[in-house]
Symmetry: C2
């Protein structure tokens, strides 16, 4: 099966503590690497977990709070110093470009590779990237400053051939591709060999959504409906819901509620406040509402 996994590089909210790092994650889809957010220290975390930064061709930044992007200039500079030549696509709030330009200007850095900037839309859902097998969209979240989430949708997957049947009937090779697409084979004698008899049905397409940071609102529910894996921030326990509202964050209980409403298959909690040394209470709180919850752990891969 085509690889579709998420590696957590940082699970901390704004103040990094207890060896936890600010937000960053790698999406690996079929050995294409996507970086989502890039908190301070991301380049060191990538090194630590054996990810080759030069394999990343697309970087998505949700918003301009430091814990989500302060590692970016360092990562881009290191790519430059290590001789990167491939284009690098960067998606994020428009002002990010201004910040990078100012820092590159004062460090007298002229990148050796093309950094192609795509401003994200803080108001509307937007298709950012489309390849034959993957679509990436941004959608607005509601935070203290403009912030978007990201959704990764796998394209339609192929059926797989029933190898023995196909061989027995000696169906010519050029027709096998068509069969996988659901097109019946017509024999020279007029016999119809239905594709559905000669293939196993295509597995369902998988999807991943990333929500960080946001206050609870139904505004983004449509954008993340029925994803297989939902990463949702859960900065606080619900006993601190007032503080969550004030700071435009969500509680573990609210994250569970979102997962339940949008019918996610699995929920991945993250963006934990520095006040929690032990994260078990956050997990317990979420599981009481949405059983299939896991904690994002740094260095761990999660299947979509």
């Amino acid at each position: 099966m085509t690889r579709f996994e998420v590696l957590i590089l940082g699970n901390s909210s704004a103040t990094p503590m207890y060896g936890r790092h600010p937000t960053a994650q790698i999406i690996n889809y079929n050995e294409q690497l996507f970086l989502v957010d890039c908190g301070e220290g991301t380049q060191m975390q990538l090194f630590r977990y054996g990810i080759r930064s030069n394999k990343i061709n697309h970087i998505f930044i949700s918003h301009l709070h430091g814990d989500h992007y302060l590692g970016l200039v360092g990562l881009l500079s290191s790519q430059h110093l290590m001789g990167r030549q491939a284009d690098l696509h960067l998606y994020g709030p428009a002002a990010l470009k201004e910040i990078l330009d100012l820092q590159f200007k004062h460090s007298d850095t002229r990148l050796r590779y093309a950094l192609i900037f795509h401003p994200t839309n803080p108001e509307h859902e937007d298709l950012l990237l489309e390849t034959p097998m993957l679509k990436v969209r941004s959608f607005p979240l509601r935070h203290r400053i403009a912030c978007t989430g990201f959704r990764f949708d796998e394209g339609r997957r192929s059926a797989t051939l029933k190898a023995e049947e196909v061989e027995r009937l000696r169906i010519p090779t050029p027709y096998l591709k068509l069969l996988k697409k659901g097109i019946d084979y017509l024999g020279a004698d007029g016999t119809v060999y239905p594709a559905k008899d000669l293939t196993f049905p295509a597995p369902a397409s998988r999807s991943y959504a990333y929500c960080s940071d946001t206050v609870l609102t139904d505004a983004y529910f449509d954008a993340i409906r029925e994803v297989d894996l939902l990463y949702h921030e859960s900065t606080f326990l619900h006993e601190m819901v007032d503080r969550a509202k004030e700071t435009f964050h969500t509680t573990a209980l609210e994250a569970a509620q979102v997962a339940q409403i949008v019918q996610a298959r699995k929920l991945l909690l993250g963006h934990f406040s520095a006040r929690y040394k032990d994260l078990q209470p956050l997990l317990d709180e979420s599981r009481a509402v949405f059983a299939n919850t896991v904690l994002s752990e740094e260095g761990k891969w999660f299947l979509v």
Copy 2:
């Protein structure tokens, strides 16, 4: 003896590798903490080595290459989030203020504490800070962009009393301070009690100089003359001296030569290129010219 030590938080040059971090160090003078440079990840390194960031009241930034300052916004933001109220003095190139202001603007951050910015002079030596017991100066280095080093000089130290002698002679308490300053005590009967007989001589004042990054030039030798501990960058082995010149860096051999010429007591090497996994050859090369060389190791305190 009054504490005067340097803690290495990062010893890597631009590209962090092998668990090495970009440049940052803490100077502890008599439990006052000074941060010198603040590469990406410094706040995590401070946490790791048990340094309380809110004890730092002065931060010095040498120049605007990312590996020397990209951890600053994160550190300043975390201080804000953790409720800092004390003033924080920041010394660095004028453009640093512009970069911070832009980042704070876009993250909608209004610091709760006063951040007092002091632009450094890239052309001339400058006295940045003077307390009764410590002076900090900046001095120009020669790098690809404007860069300064920093020198920490301890004030004149007091002599210590020969307690038994002083007691035997029943010298009145108010005169003890004067004796320590070298002023003789005149007895009521006109007898002169020479201060030098009643005190141990004041230990020499100590000094520390920080040189990163720079190409070899005699322009800064006067500024670092006769320091007790000299931190000097040594990005490359001397076999790469051409590359060092090109990138405005120095080799381990050149660092040793500088230490020898300025008559430093001890040399601390740092800012190692990512090409060196093993640092022993850099140490060997320096020791061949200047025996009292040590490698800066992350997490280790060095006495001045």
